[in-house]
């Protein structure tokens, strides 16, 4: 077995181990993972796959790593369920229409992060040190794991918050955040509120200002992913920049411009972990198109994934954005070509790239379906239609969005003029979402467990393998 195959399988087993440990709640997860690894290893051994048998130890190591990380981050000191006053640093602020949600890292002698829900005003900022007087509770079980992913183990509402001093925290991060805030306020000034919020969602993945009605509409029409910052959005930015620059520059130069754009985008959105992950995934897609070598690409994906998982192993199971990016990237790389072969699709992009968008959307949607079902409990059977109608205009809308931000640096009136053009595209996109949300076609699914997901992916992968094998055969015969 060549080295790159060994690396691929070892990392894959490691990821399986992490997933296993984060999905089960045995008291002795590592021990059971060890048994699973031995069982799988034995099975490979029986079938004569000695290397795979040896590498399956990755399952054991992966779950061990997860448990180690879990124990270490759960080492907290937070006074729960009593009236208390704590001091800490605000590490994250998300501002909604009516309230703010703050993540506060507690100061010594306390340890850990809490989430504080505060009124819309007074406004709090990253880097503020504050005292919080209130009662800290353990989060409800339904979202405890998702909060734990971000290292948050307590929540409080209606607390009394007082500023101690501001300007703490990382200087770089606060500079990056001020760029993001500038962009958001440029959108707000140039556009009506609903459109400004949608544009913030598309370009920055910022959805805090969405109304509940609007969130429901996105969910009903299967378009929530447009504003969930995933590798896909970042990829759209890079692709459209590359396409535009491709008129002037060589492919390779355009590729580097695309990559630079991705980097700038990361800066613009405040370089949050989720954005960095999305950007890495997007970069991989660019790289795959550039090199067109599936094997090296396969390794690139697992290496990127394992790097992110090593930093925070909880994301594999609990970060929807990561899962969506990861699955969508795999869908674009493996499923898309299979669909093109199977349906013998024409290579022409079609009017406004409808054919390209249709195939891309279908591949990505098929690849992420179990994740959507498991997390949102619903699926829109017609989501392909609004997606194709909207996706064709997403790159130009995003481009106009960034133009608004860039021009606002010079003059708010220039930004306003471009805002009028962006307004037209946003009206169209929101019109499509409104229209399809009125049809209200949605399949509610009670629970979609991990077993069904595994079955689904097994069928999908078998399908791809079958098509690929058949194509290979046809090539041999015709060759």
């Amino acid at each position: 077995m060549p080295l790159y195959d060994k690396a691929f399988w070892f990392i894959s087993f490691f990821l399986v181990g992490v997933l296993f440990a984060s999905s089960t709640s045995f008291s002795d997860t590592v021990f059971i993972a060890g048994l699973v690894a031995i069982a799988i290893g034995a099975a490979f051994f029986v079938f004569g796959k000695k290397w795979l048998a040896l590498l399956s130890i990755g399952i054991f190591l992966g779950s061990g790593y997860y448990v180690f990380y879990d124990v270490r981050t759960r080492d907290i000191a937070i006074p729960f369920d009593e009236k208390t006053t704590v001091t800490g640093l605000i590490t994250k602020v998300s501002t909604g229409l009516e309230k703010q949600s703050l993540v506060i890292k507690l100061n010594d002698p306390l340890r850990g992060r809490i989430r504080v829900t505060a009124p819309r005003y007074p406004e709090w900022n990253y880097g503020d040190v504050v005292t919080v007087e209130g009662t800290i509770r353990r989060p409800d079980e339904s979202f405890a794991e998702r909060l734990a992913k971000d290292g948050i183990f307590g929540t409080t509402i209606f607390a009394d918050i007082k500023l101690v001093r501001s300007g703490e925290g990382s200087l770089l991060k606060s500079k990056l955040l001020s760029i993001k805030h500038f962009t958001e306020s440029a959108f707000r000034r140039a556009l009506p509120p609903e459109k400004a919020a949608f544009l913030s969602g598309l370009t920055l993945g910022e959805t805090a200002e969405f109304t509940k009605e609007f969130r429901d509409k996105l969910s009903v029409t299967g378009t929530s992913h447009l504003v969930a910052l995933s590798g896909y959005n970042v990829n759209v930015i890079a692709e459209s920049i590359m396409a535009a620059l491709g008129l002037w520059f060589s492919r390779r130069k355009a590729f580097w411009f695309g990559t630079t754009a991705v980097a700038l985008f990361v800066v613009m959105t405040g370089a949050e972990a989720s954005v960095v992950r999305a950007a890495i995934m997007a970069f991989l897609v660019l790289l795959a198109e550039e090199t067109a070598r599936a094997y090296s690409f396969r390794n690139a994906i697992v290496v990127a994934a394992v790097a992110m998982v090593l930093v925070n192993p909880r994301i594999l199971r609990w970060d929807i954005g990561f899962q969506l990016s990861f699955a969508a990237v795999l869908g674009l790389i493996y499923l898309r070509p299979a669909i093109i072969t199977w349906f013998n699709v024409s290579k022409k992009p079609g009017f406004f790239h409808w054919r390209e968008n249709l195939i891309t959307t279908t591949s990505a949607q098929l690849a992420v379906l179990p994740i959507l079902l498991a997390n949102f409990g619903s699926f829109s059977p017609i989501s392909i239609v609004p997606n194709v109608l909207i996706l064709a205009f997403v790159p130009i809308t995003m481009f106009l969005g960034f133009s608004i931000a860039a021009l606002a640096v010079i003059s708010s009136y220039l930004a306003l003029a471009v805002g009028l053009v962006a307004n037209l595209f946003l009206s169209y996109e929101l019109g499509v979402i409104n229209f399809f949300s009125m049809l209200n076609l949605k399949w509610e699914i009670g629970s979609f467990g991990i077993a069904l997901s595994i079955l689904y992916y097994a069928i999908l992968i078998s399908g791809i393998l079958y098509i690929n094998r058949r194509t290979a055969k046809t090539n041999v015969i015709s060759g």
């Binding site: 229409l97 009516e98 009124p119 819309r120 005003y121 007074p122 406004e123 306020s185 707000r188 000034r189 009506p192 509120p193 609903e194 200002e209 109304t211 708010s412 306003l416 003029a417 805002g419 009028l420 053009v421 307004n423």
Partner: protein
């Protein structure tokens, strides 16, 4: 060798189309923003709180209060003002309570504001400090109004009836509300903030309060809209600005007194945003729902 020429002309063509598009949009905006010749009084549906917009003939805007900080006032304004209009001539705060000024912070961030008006009474909450900060950041001047001041615009006059010096220092923040009478030749409208019986009676004693339209004081609290006050006003239309709340606003008591006074009562939680359109003394009422 003809390729570069073709490319240049294509670029020129693209540039031409872009400019034509931008030009078209600008003219479109100019054409739709041709301002109405009516006086328009809007009572905005912004939840539990107050927010009223007065559009004078010729498109001069006065926004009184911004409701609570929930983003609704921006939504309402973007529906009323033409696309691309980001200027409000005057913004007035009746008194520094969150359900009146909270939305104004958002307004000041988004809109260019000519002048900020208030009673001069400072708020007591940390959120009020945010309002002051954003006024400074956006370089908007604050002008304090008191009883006796008048704002003139064409044929329209806005007279400030309250607070006087004594009431401005009141412990009860609601009593410091700016009360303003908008008058043109054959039409009057009274804006009352959150005043209660005490200020109402003082005003009924000192002024001719007759008005066609009344902004119901304090969201229809049972301690406002007293009989004497309403008898002095004789309103034809009364608008209560309310949303979901735990105070029981608008109260049965206040609504009963308003009906007894002969007023047609509109409330923003049922009727949505209410518009009173005034043309030479005659007026029509529109509501955004039902």
């Amino acid at each position: 060798m003809s390729f570069p020429v073709k490319r240049t002309s294509r670029r020129l063509f693209t540039a031409f189309v872009l400019f034509a598009l931008l030009d078209g949009i600008i003219w479109y905006v100019i054409s739709i923003s041709s301002d109405s010749s009516f006086l328009e009084l809007y009572f905005l549906n912004i939840g539990q709180g107050d927010s009223e917009l007065i559009r004078f003939p010729g498109g001069v805007d006065l926004l009184i209060d911004g409701g609570p900080p929930n983003g609704k006032v921006l939504e309402e304004l973007s529906r009323i003002l033409p696309a691309g209009d980001t200027y409000l001539d005057l913004v007035m705060m009746s008194h520094p309570q969150l359900d009146h000024f909270g939305g104004l912070i958002d307004v000041l961030k988004k809109y260019d504001v000519g002048l900020f008006l208030g009673s001069g009474r400072a708020g007591e909450t940390a959120a009020y400090d945010d309002l002051v900060r954003v006024l400074e950041e956006r370089n908007v001047n604050y002008l304090a109004l008191q009883e006796g001041d008048v704002i003139l615009r064409g044929d329209d006059a806005i007279s400030i009836l309250s607070p006087n010096k004594r009431n401005l220092a009141s412990k009860e923040l609601n009593d410091t509300s700016v009360v303003a009478m908008l008058a043109e030749e054959d039409f009057r409208a009274l804006y009352t903030g959150d005043i209660g019986f005490k200020i109402e009676d003082e005003l009924a004693r000192s002024y001719d309060l007759r008005a066609d339209v009344l902004k119901v004081p304090h969201h229809g609290s049972k301690y406002s809209s007293g009989t004497k006050f309403l008898e002095a006003i004789q309103p034809q239309i009364a608008v209560a600005e309310v949303g979901k709340n735990t105070y029981g606003h608008p109260t049965r008591e206040a609504l009963g007194r308003l009906e007894d006074a002969g007023a047609a009562v509109f409330r923003t939680d049922h009727d949505g945003t209410v518009l009173v359109e005034v043309d030479q003394g005659k007026f029509s009422v529109f509501r955004s729902t039902r």
